[in-house]
Amino acid sequence: MAANDRTHVSRARAGSGWLLAASLAAYAAVVAGAPIDATQGPIQKILYLHVPCAFAAYLGFALTALVGALYLWRSEARLDRAAAAAAEVGVVFCSLVLLTGPIWARGTWGRWWSWDPRLTVTLLLWFIYLAYLLLRGFTEGSERAARFAAVYGIVGLLAVPLNYFAIQLFGGRAIHPENLARGSLGAGMGLPFALGVVTALVAFVHLWLRRLEVADLESEEAAATHGAGEA
């Protein structure tokens, strides 16, 4: 792989780092000043972390499947590294969702866990993409691991709408608010929420590029030592 590509990634990573720092500062200031919810109290502010993290996690899993499909088409090892990095970062964000959710639920719904459809689908996604990462770890040969992982990532994404409809039909009572339709946020809550989404997505991109950079270096290193061993 051309070192040139890596320079691009490094530059984009550095740029996204500055963007992330700026947006984190603005986010922290706005969330600190955001109004306290009249019925839920301060715990409602977990919204500004919980939902943006969920968006970042879904983005990560969608990218895993889409970039994985691209890999199957083009067979470029770099695409596989990008898909794997998206899955790793997606799992991190998904874990944050599954940690912040119960804390909020305990405070407002009165219990840590409920089998609400959106909750169950997110939990299953977490399992699917953890299995994706395990599968990569347990498969020998990077080309084979890449193909297996791409196939599994695609089926995992195919299963999302099916899971969602199935669980919505039969799998449990919904207690998540019906969408964040416009107007469902109180006055003064729109800005911190929007900033939260922007920050989470920038954080996702930044971590993704960082992970990709490391993976590129690892593969260069492996290629170098392999070549030296042969010589």
Binding site: L72, L124, F127, I128, A131, L134, L135, F138, T139, E140, R144, R147, F148, A150, V151, Y152, I154, V155, G156, L158, A159, L162, N163, F165, A166, I167, L169, F170, G171
Partner: protein, 221 residues
């Protein structure tokens, strides 16, 4: 198409000659019935009836997990899988042959296990035998489709026994939900419920088409 029939015939013939998979799956699912007996409260037919459909499908999934890796494990001996991959046809047909063989095997095991369930837990499954067979057929189709695809993946990892359930179960949820709900409503009303059956049909179609297309990349070496 010829490849499809050849693979199907070969898998059924090897299974008929050895009978190792069907026997081990059957014994295992009967053992699961015994274990479920200890899990259920005594003299509470209401409870038993309420949880039986879920338990029945749990037993099916366990049995399927046990049997499906084997279908590809035997292909790894003497590099038979590479030979299969060289067949001059779309590899999707190899997948369909394997999946249909798995499906037939599952149906046999499921029918016997359902009979054991009916006897052991006093369930009136006999009176709904035909509609129940339809539920089993649709549920097993989804199970056999993704199960066959993932078994082809799992047997070539270094941790094959663990990998298959970890890959399969989270993806299988729509099939399980549809099948359990259909079985439960069938037991309660005696008629096939439209909603769960439709869900099963849609899920089966998505999984079958997806696996047919993706199997090519699993076999490519």
């Amino acid at each position: 198409m010829n490849v499809f029939l050849a693979v199907l015939w070969k898998d059924l013939l090897t299974e008929w000659r050895s009978r190792d998979r069907v026997v081990s799956m059957l014994l295992f699912s009967l053992l699961v019935v015994v274990v479920f007996h200890f899990a259920l409260p005594d003299n509470a037919p209401e409870t038993t009836r309420a949880v039986a459909p879920g338990l029945l499908w749990a037993a099916y999934v366990f049995a399927a997990l046990l049997g499906m890796n084997r279908a590809f494990a035997i292909e790894l001996e003497n590099e038979a899988l590479s030979g299969l991959a060289l067949a001059p046809a779309d590899r999707g047909w190899i997948f369909l042959g394997k999946a249909l063989a798995n499906w037939l095997l599952l149906m046999v095991v499921e029918a016997v296990t359902a009979g054991a369930f009916a006897l052991a837990f006093d369930l009136p499954l006999g009176s709904v035998a035909f509609p129940l067979a339809a539920v089993l057929a649709l549920g097993s189709a989804g199970l056999a489709a993704v199960g066959t695809l993932f078994a082809a993946v799992a047997v070539r990892t270094s941790y094959r026994e663990v990998m298959l359930p970890l890959l399969l179960v989270p993806v299988l949820v729509p099939v399980l939900l549809g099948a359990v709900r259909a079985t439960a409503e069938l037991l309660a009303s005696g008629a096939l419920p439209a909603g769960p059956m439709r869900l099963l049909a849609v899920t089966d179609a998505v999984f079958l088409i997806g696996s047919f297309v993706l199997f090519d990349y699993v076999l490519e070496e």
